[in-house]
Symmetry: C2
Subunit: 468 residues, 2 copies
C-alpha cells in the first residue's frame, strides 16, 4: 500500500508521483492578486495536502502565511511533485533545480514555448530531462492534474467560477488545458464523477501514450476519455490503446479533425494534427470509441460506464408518443442501429395489455393513455425478447397517465436488467424532476434522440469489439 492508502501499481509507475504526491513544491507561488501563482497555491490551501505543500519564490519570505523558499533545492524534504508557474524564460533554470534536487515529477503550467515559437527554451528543457533520466515532466502550457478523491488540484481554475466534479470512475486526459477544465466544470453539473484528470499541453516528456498506459492499468479508472490534438508515438500508442480497449472503454475526441484547423493547432500546442483518415483507421483497429464532438465525449463515457455490454445493435423503442417514437426511430436508423423485430410471442403478449389502436411494430407505440402498468409490461417484454439487444424507453410526461410511478417501475426493472436500457424524455420543470429521479436511479436519460442514438451506437460498437 502506498502513501495514500491506495494500492500502487507495477506499471507506468513513474506517473504515480503526479497523482499520489507526498511533498509538493509550488515554484512561482505568490500573494499577488489575480496571479496564476496565487490561484494555484490557494487551490492547495484548505486541502489535506496543504501541510506538505511548499511555496518557492525568491522575492518573498512568505506566501499567504507560509514560509517561502528561494529555490526548490532549499526545501528540507524529498519533493515528489513540483509545479512550475513562472515566466517561460526562467523555466529551464527552475527545471534544472528540480533535476538537481531529485524531484520525481514536474508539472510546467507556464506557456510561451514551442507554441509561441520559442524553440530554444524547449530544447533546453528537453536536454535537462534527457540528462536526468528518471524525472518525469508534464507540460509545459498545461493545467496539470486533478484527483477529487484526495483533493489534488494543480489547475489554476477559480473555485467561484468553476465547480470541480465529484469523485467517480471516469478518467480524462486533455492536451488542451482550458478545454479540459471547462469540460470538468460542465461535467460537475452532469452527474459525472472523475477519478483522474491530466492536462498535458505541449507534451515535452509525458505524452498521451504514457497517460493512457497509466489510466489503462489504474483500477479506479473504469472508462478512460481523452481530448487529443496529435499523437506523438503512433505505433506505441496503437499497441497501448488496443490493450487498454480490451480491458475498458477508451473514448477519444480528436481536435483538428479538419484540414482547415491544422494551422490553429500548431499555434495552440505546437503540434502537427495529421490526417484524420489515418486516425479513423487507427480508432477502428484498436477499439477506440471515437467521439466526434464534445457532447459525444462524455455521453459515450457515461453510457459505457453505466450500461452492460450489448449482444448486438437490435434496439426496441417503447413510447407513449407516436411522433417522438418516429423521430427517435429515424435517428436510430441513421446511426446504424437496427430496429429490433419483436418475436411473435412478445407481440401476442403486448396485444393482451395495450389498446388495439397501439402500434405493435417498433416503435411500440402504447398511445397517450399509457401509464406505469403499460410501461412496466412493455419494458419487461422487450427485456425478455431474444430478438432485442438494447431498449430505449420514451416517456412524454405531458399526458395525465404518466407520473412518478412510471419512473419508480422503470428503476425497479433496470436494477436487474441485463441489457442496456436508457430513457428519452424532454420537457420543462415536471419532466426535469423525473429526469433527475431516473438519473439517481442509475437510468441514463437523453433529451434528444440524436445523442441517444449516437451513444447506443457507441455502446454497440464497443461491445462488438470486446466480444470479438
Amino acid at each position: 500500500m502506498g502513501y495514500w492508502g491506495i494500492e500502487m501499481r507495477k506499471y507506468s509507475r513513474e506517473l504515480d508521483c503526479f497523482f499520489y504526491p507526498e511533498h509538493i513544491a509550488i515554484i512561482g507561488a505568490s500573494s499577488e492578486e489575480r496571479s496564476i501563482g496565487k490561484q494555484l497555491f490557494t487551490n492547495f490551501m484548505g486541502t489535506k495536502l496543504s501541510k506538505k505543500t511548499y511555496p518557492v519564490n525568491p522575492f518573498h519570505k512568505n506566501v499567504l502565511g507560509k514560509k517561502a523558499y528561494v529555490s526548490v533545492k532549499d526545501i528540507p524534504y524529498d519533493i515528489d511533485l513540483a509545479i512550475i508557474a513562472i515566466p517561460a524564460k526562467h523555466v529551464p533554470n527552475a527545471l534544472q533545480d528540480c533535476s538537481d534536487k531529485g524531484v520525481k515529477g514536474v508539472i510546467i503550467i507556464s506557456s510561451g514555448f514551442k507554441e509561441a515559437g520559442n524553440e530554444d527554451l524547449t530544447e533546453k528543457m528537453k536536454k535537462i530531462i534527457r540528462e536526468n533520466k528518471t524525472m518525469r515532466v508534464v507540460g509545459p502550457n498545461c493545467f496539470g492534474v486533478l484527483m477529487p478523491e484526495i483533493g489534488l488540484n494543480t489547475t489554476f481554475s477559480v473555485k467561484e467560477k468553476s465547480h470541480l466534479p465529484k469523485h467517480g470512475n471516469l478518467s480524462f486526459f486533455s492536451q488542451s488545458g482550458a478545454l479540459g477544465v471547462a469540460i470538468l466544470d460542465w461535467a460537475s453539473t452532469q452527474n459525472f464523477g472523475i477519478h483522474k484528470f491530466m492536462s498535458y499541453g505541449n507534451a515535452i516528456d509525458v505524452d498521451e501514450t504514457d497517460i493512457l498506459d497509466h489510466m489503462g492499468h489504474d483500477k479506479g479508472s473504469k472508462v478512460v476519455t481523452a481530448y487529443i490534438e496529435e499523437v506523438k508515438r503512433g505505433r506505441k500508442f496503437m499497441e497501448t490503446a488496443k490493450k487498454v480497449s480490451k480491458r475498458k472503454p477508451f473514448v477519444v475526441l480528436k481536435g483538428g479533425s479538419q484540414k482547415a484547423t491544422h494551422h490553429a493547432i500548431s499555434s495552440h500546442t505546437g503540434s502537427l494534427a495529421g490526417d484524420m483518415k489515418v486516425y479513423e483507421a487507427v480508432f477502428k483497429q484498436t477499439g477506440i470509441v471515437h467521439a466526434k464532438n464534445m457532447r459525444e465525449l462524455f455521453s459515450f463515457a457515461k453510457i459505457l460506464e453505466n450500461e452492460p455490454i450489448a449482444n448486438g445493435n437490435r434496439t426496441a423503442i417503447i413510447t407513449n408518443g407516436g411522433g417522438y417514437g418516429i423521430v427517435t426511430a429515424d435517428e436510430f436508423t441513421k446511426n446504424n442501429l437496427t430496429l429490433a423485430k419483436l418475436s411473435s410471442g412478445s407481440i401476442k403478449k403486448l396485444k393482451q395489455i395495450l389498446p388495439p389502436a397501439a402500434g405493435f411494430g417498433n416503435p411500440i407505440d402504447m398511445l397517450g393513455g399509457a401509464g406505469e402498468k403499460e410501461y412496466a409490461f412493455a419494458t419487461k417484454t422487450a427485456l425478455n425478447d431474444k430478438n432485442v439487444d438494447m431498449i430505449a424507453v420514451l416517456v412524454l410526461f405531458n399526458t395525465p397517465t404518466v407520473d412518478q410511478k412510471t419512473v419508480k417501475e422503470l428503476i425497479k426493472i433496470k436494477k436487474t436488467a441485463k441489457k442496456p436500457l436508457v430513457v428519452l424524455t424532454f420537457g420543462s420543470g415536471y419532466t426535469q424532476h423525473r429526469k433527475d429521479e431516473f438519473e439517481k436511479g442509475r437510468i441514463i436519460t437523453y433529451d434528444y434522440p440524436d445523442i441517444a442514438a449516437r451513444s447506443l451506437e457507441a455502446l454497440a460498437k464497443y461491445s462488438a469489439f470486446v466480444k470479438r
Copy 2:
C-alpha cells in the same frame, strides 16, 4: 379590425376561426376525473375565453358548474369553433350536428380512425365535410391549437406537468400532437415565444399546405416551423413553401426520414412517408430550412428569428481557449462554413492589442489572459472586416480575467452589429448565469460547437436563398 383587436387577413381566412373564435363549443366536455374532456374544458376555464365556451354533453346537465347542452345545435349562439373529444364511433354524428349548426371550424381531438384502420368512419366524416363546403376541420387524432397571446389552448395537456410557452414570434405546426406539445413545453424553458401552434393529426381536411399558407401570411409569425410526416398536396405545398420562404424562414423537421420508420408512421397518423430524397430536393428548391432532428428544429428557428441575413458563410472564431477554438473550427468546417481569412489590416490591429503568443489566424486565439478589453476589440475588428460574414465568440469563464464585464461589452456591441454574432460557452453555475445574461441581451448562446455550426450553416443557407 376583428373581434380580438387583431387585424384580420384577406388570405386563408377560413383558418381564422381556429385562432380567433368568439363562441366555442366543447363536445365531450366532462367532469369525470382524469378524462380528456375534463382537462380540455378545464384548460378553457380561467381564460378570458371561458364565458363564451359551452360544454356539450347529453349525459350531464352541468359540467364543472356550466350548463351543458345535449347537442351543439342547442346552443343559442353562432359557434365559431367546436372541439370534439368523444369516442371515435360517435364523432361522425357530432360532426353532422356541427355542419347543420353552421359551425365555422371543428377540431377533432378524438383518435381511433384511419390510423387504427377505421376507414369507414373517416369516409363518413369526409362526406360531411364535402357536403358542407365551408366548414373547416382540423384532425382527427390531434391536439388542436394554442395561441398564448389570447390564452387559447385546445390541447388537453396537464398544466401542472407542462408549461405553455409565452407569446412570441415563432409559429409551429405539427402532425404529431404529443410531440408538438412536448416541444412547446420544452420551448417554454428556452426563452422562446410562440405566436400560433396547430397540431393537425390525420389531416382529414385542413392540411400542412393550408396551415403554411395561413402562418406564411400572418404578420405575427416571423418564423414558421413544422413537424411533418407526410405532405398531401405536393405541388401546391411546394408553391406555397417557395412563396412563404421568400418572406420568412420556414423550418421543417420531417418525421420518417428513414425507410425503416415508414411502417410506424402509417400506424401513427395513417399517412405515407414518401422518399426522403424527394423531400430533400423539394426543401432545397423551395428554400425550406431542413432541420434533421428536434434539437435543430428550434435552434434553427431561434437563429433565423434573432439574427440578420448573412452576406455569406465566412465565419470568424474568437476564443480565449485554444482547444475550444479548434473543436469549434472543426465543427464549422464539417458543416460547410468557411473559416474567414481576416484582412491584413485587421491582423495588424489585433497584433497591437493581443499578446505575441496569441493565434492570429482563425480561430483568433486571444489566450487565457483575455478580458473584456480584448473581447471587445477583437469582436469589433471582426465586425468591421469585409472578409467576415458571421462571428462566433467563444468564452470560457474559468479564467480569472473574464467575467460579467465581458458579457456587457458584447451585448453593447451586438446592439448595433449588422452581422450575425453568436456566443459559445459551457460550464456549470457561474457560466450558466452569464449565459442567461447573454440571452437576455439578445445574444444567442450555444454549449456545443456542433449545434452552433449547424445553426450558422442554416442561417447562411437561408440568407443565400433570400438574396438569390
